[in-house]
């Protein structure tokens, strides 16, 4: 029976949330304008209104999760994003796989942030919350699903399947509920996908806070005071967004198989750019607090970071990217709405800023080269140019859409080799940033003139040159570009470490945020240079085969074909593919797939053999995601097994085929990264024609290429799964098939009942063989076997060595710690001022 209650509830709450957001905005405006007597009551009313909004938003999320959690496949959202086989933590991922869920998540974070701001602010509550409530109204409208005439506002996640599709089954039976959902995209079935989207959306949501303070400041004519409360939030936002980006990169590294962590895909660029601008804005805001300059720059940067987040959302979710991105979302028809959302805040912010422009205090004094303002400003400019270089080509599809909407024709396409294109600029910008941070930090902590600067820089300079020399020699960095990166990176690390040591000696750890973050940056730079610049594909085809086309030989074959059990030479390793495995609940290692037989129930299998101490033959075992196959790849050196990797693949009908995830061997100084690019499909084999063999017990012969021994036959008293009757004769032949170092026993059976012959053939999917005992010739003491071949199991694999990738991951962690220290410090400053009653 269809449950419409939850959906109606969710839909109702959407409308409540939308209306209460508008009421909150109105009420806070009144509170802001009201005189002293009425202020208290307006404030109470505004807050209650926002609390109602908060409850409604939470209820929307709860309703949607209830639908997914209880497998209510009468709802389109649950049907298309979830399935019964999903464990609970992946149901959480299902929640935000769809765009509607993502918007709910975003709105939910805004509510949380809004509640915190109400608690922590006195003066700023009204103006900030007006902005919040308006943003909420826009976000909730995305999931309203209201149709007025031709106008569709939002796309509701609470739509029933029968309303979302026109499947004929609903005409016969409107109450039809599908047995199971189509499942979650297997690429998202990863622990990082459970935590990456909430982190990223918290980052998105939190860019609103500094923006809201800025708008508050412009409206209340407190042109500079907004910086203090906004700053800790700007740092918080940069940290969370940065963390979200890194998690996304890490997820891509461990789940996707493009062979790296960053691809310059539009979706990645769309979060990278706002983050750069956000980081630039933090720096100018800090400068302003120190020396009353760069206020205008800060205002522009804060507006840009918020608008760029909206622009990113527009690019990714409007469908405008089309085929330019590998993972753009389907178009829900929200592009117009997203555009209005973005333009609304852009126009308001630009209007308010322009109106206030001539009242905004500036410093007339030209910044000296020996001042920190100068260096910080250069840094902010570099970050700005960096983001400009990325956002411009990323917007090409949007540009095409714009030209076409005016009737023109534009056939511009994004650069063909995106990695090369972006790298050639971003590399040098990053080097510039690294150098600026090391020099800038010295100005930061002391007034310095030409001579003092020289003295301060000489020591770190010498140390870093020596250190770089060691790195360059030991790691064999001989490319001049990479040598420069090593120099810049180590200089950043050393210079900032010197500063860090000084700070720790003189004052507290609280002030160390900046230098820590910059040390992280230096490590990230070096880590990226090594892991990407010196990434080495080792799965070069060394079979020595030549092809007909001469030019084809010039192409680097970056994959190897591995037949099961056949050792293949690959750089320093001999690799052997050993067959498919499954993950079984309660077993810490992978279990060979051939000893498991599906029972037909979801994620359940019957054990065909004992497996160590974990289960016995005949046990029913639970499989973790039965669609997943883990391909066992043994890496040997000098005939000794060094380690095994088990890259995953899932053949997923609904998602259109093979979906693979890599597996890596992680060393301290490098990763060996392996993934399956193609595999054998033995579901429905096309058997080749019959081959008959007449052999006597004890004979040795060849089936295909396999050396085979016929050890003999025995008469059976009973056969599993088959009822033997009086007078039946059952004979089982025992064949031993050798495939390299593996020996397999195949036992076809032959039954005679009332002069009728029954044959039970054996199929070995790994060898690609079907063998049946065709006949027994007692006079000649010979047995006749019929053999059909398909092909041996294989995988096509790619393996890449990524040196020093851990330097990158450690660098990001240090940078995040630096951000956290800075947040703590700045929030502390704000609290002290607030409690003095100044703000």
């Amino acid at each position: 029976m269809i449950n419409t209650f939850v959906g109606n509830m969710g839909h109702l709450m959407t409308i409540v949330a939308f209306v209460s957001a508008l009421v909150t905005a109105y009420a806070y405006i009144q509170y802001f304008r009201a005189n002293e007597i009425e202020k208290a009551s307006w404030r109470r009313f505004s807050r209650i209104s926002f609390y109602i909004h908060a409850v409604a938003t939470t209820m929307i999320a709860a309703s949607l999760f209830e639908i997914i959690y209880n497998h209510r496949y009468e709802y389109f959202y649950a049907y298309s994003h979830s399935s019964k086989a999903l464990p609970v933590h992946y149901m959480i991922s299902s929640f935000w796989e769809g765009q509607e869920g993502a918007f709910i998540l975003w709105a939910f974070w805004n509510v949380v942030l809004g509640l915190i701001l109400i608690k922590t602010n006195k003066f700023w509550e009204a103006p900030v919350m007006v902005v919040f409530a308006l943003v909420q109204a826009f976000l909730i409208s995305m999931i309203m699903g209201v149709v007025i005439g031709d106008l569709k506002i939002g796309s509701s996640p609470f739509m029933l399947l029968r309303d979302a599709t026109q499947a004929p089954i609903f005409e016969m039976n409107p109450d039809f509920v599908p047995e199971d959902g189509t499942g979650l995209n297997p690429l998202l079935q990863n622990i990082w996908m459970v935590i990456h989207p909430p982190t990223l959306f918290l980052g998105y949501a939190s860019t609103l806070v500094p923006f809201a303070f800025l708008i508050g400041g412009l409206v209340t004519k407190r042109y500079s005071e907004w910086i203090r409360p906004a700053l800790p939030w700007a740092i918080f936002s940069a940290m969370i967004l940065g963390m979200g980006i890194i998690m996304g990169a890490y997820w891509a590294y461990v789940t996707l198989n493009f062979g790296g962590y960053w691809n310059w895909d539009p979706v990645e660029n769309a979060v990278y750019v706002p983050w750069l601008i956000l980081v630039a804005s933090i720096h100018t805001m800090i400068t302003f607090k120190k020396s009353a300059t760069a206020l205008k720059t800060s205002i522009v940067l804060v507006i840009m970071s918020f608008i760029l987040v909206l622009y990113a959302t527009f690019l990714v979710r409007s469908g405008v990217l089309g085929d330019a991105s590998v993972h753009s979302f389907t178009d829900l028809g929200l592009s117009g709405q997203l555009l209005i959302y973005m333009l609304f805040f852009m126009v308001i912010a630009i209007f308010l800023a322009a109106r206030a422009w001539k009242h905004i205090p500036t410093s007339e004094k030209e910044a000296s080269v020996y001042s920190r303002e100068f260096w910080i400003f250069l840094g902010a400019v570099t970050l700005g140019l960096m983001s400009f270089q990325v956002i411009l080509p990323t917007s090409i599809p949007a540009w095409n859409a714009l030209v076409e909407s005016f009737g023109g024709i534009s056939n511009m396409a994004p650069p063909a080799d995106q990695i090369e294109f972006y790298t050639k600029f971003q590399l040098w910008f990053a080097v510039a940033i690294a150098l600026l941070t090391s020099v800038g930090q010295f100005f930061w902590w002391q007034k310095i003139d030409k001579k003092a600067l020289k003295d301060a820089l000489v020591l770190p300079y010498i140390i870093s040159v020596l250190l770089s020399a060691v790195i360059i020699v030991l790691a064999k960095v001989y490319d001049w570009k990479y040598i420069i990166i090593v120099l810049a990176g180590t200089f950043t690390i050393v210079a900032n470490a010197v500063i860090l040591a000084k700070i720790l000696k003189k004052s507290t750890f609280k002030l160390a945020g900046g230098s820590l973050a910059h040390i992280g940056l230096g490590m990230i730079l070096i880590g990226i240079m090594f892991s990407s610049g010196y990434s080495d594909v080792i799965s070069i085809n060394m079979s020595g085969l030549t092809y007909s086309n001469s030019w084809e030989d010039e192409m680097n074959k970056e994959h190897v074909l591995l037949w099961i059990n056949k050792p293949t030479q690959m750089k320093d390793y001999t690799v052997i593919y050993r067959g498919r495995q499954k993950k079984v609940v309660g077993v810490p290692e992978y279990v060979p797939a051939k000893i498991l037989e599906s029972t037909g129930n979801v994620n359940e299998a019957l054990a065909l053999e004992d497996y160590k101490d974990f289960f016995k033959k005949g046990d029913s075992v639970k499989i973790v995601l039965e669609e997943n196959d883990y391909f066992k790849i043994d890496y040997m050196q000098n005939e000794v097994l060094k380690f095994s990797l088990s890259p995953m693949s899932q053949f997923n009908e609904g998602m259109g085929g093979l979906i693979s995830s890599p597996d890596s061997k992680i060393y301290l100084n490098r990763d060996l990264y392996t993934y399956v690019a193609a595999m054998n499909d033995y579901e429905d084999p096309e058997w080749k024609e019959d081959e008959n063999y007449e052999v006597a017990p004890g004979d040795q012969f060849h089936i295909a290429d396999f050396v085979t021994y016929f050890d003999g036959a025995e008469v059976l008293k009973e056969i599993e799964g088959y009822q033997l009757q009086e007078g039946d004769v059952a004979v089982k032949a025992k064949l031993r098939v050798l495939d390299y170092d593996v020996e397999k026993t195949l036992e076809p059976t032959f039954i005679i009942r009332n002069n009728q012959v029954g044959k039970l053939p054996v199929i070995d999917t790994e060898l690609g063989l079907k063998v049946s005992l065709e006949n027994i010739l007692p006079e000649q003491n010979k047995f006749v076997f019929k053999v059909n071949q398909y092909q041996k199991d294989y995988v096509v694999m790619k393996a890449i060595v990524k040196p020093y990738i851990n330097v990158l991951w450690i660098g990001t962690i240090i940078m995040l710690i630096g951000f956290s220290v800075a947040i703590f410090r700045r929030f502390d400053e704000f609290q002290k001022m607030r409690d003095k009653g100044l703000e």
């Binding site: 049907y79 599709t165 599908p178 189509t182 085929d323 511009m412 192409m555 074909l561 609904g654």
Partner: protein, 138 residues
């Protein structure tokens, strides 16, 4: 000249360089005919061609030839103008390749007979089709 002006000029100069290279390095959408013309004019830049896989009368993809070691393949792509072209791709066949509604090949001509794709983007049929709902339910 003040420092501010120098910096300003520097920013403008870099911005112009960025814009010029973005335009210069931007690829373009072409048909096989225009792509071949470009090749004949000596332009080797990688371009985008949008097309569909060649299918026989029963709707089966034809002309897909996988190399013996399964690490590369060639296929026939029909662009939006109806020109048929053999395309070589130096990667194993992507799993959902034959199901794709539309294929974008990014690459260039090597010779008239063969277009070498450096990258392939596929647009696959929407995940949720009406028939799927029925199949899942019956």
């Amino acid at each position: 000249m003040k420092k501010g002006h120098i910096i300003g000029l520097g920013i403008i100069a870099i911005a112009i360089v960025i814009i010029m290279t973005s335009i210069g390095d931007a690829s373009s959408y072409e048909s096989f005919n225009t792509a071949w013309e470009m090749k004949e004019d000596g332009e080797d830049k990688a371009i985008h061609v949008v097309g569909k896989l060649k299918k026989d009368t029963s709707g089966q993809v034809t002309g897909l030839e996988v190399n013996e070691d399964k690490t590369s393949f060639t296929f026939l792509l029909v662009d939006n103008d109806g020109t048929e072209q053999k395309v070589y791709y130096n990667e194993p066949v992507p799993a959902d390749f034959q199901r794709s509604e539309q294929v974008v090949v990014i690459g260039s001509y090597r010779e008239k007979e063969i277009f070498v794709a450096d990258k392939i983007l596929m647009k696959c049929p929407s995940k949720y089709q009406e028939t799927d709902v029925q199949a899942a339910g019956m």
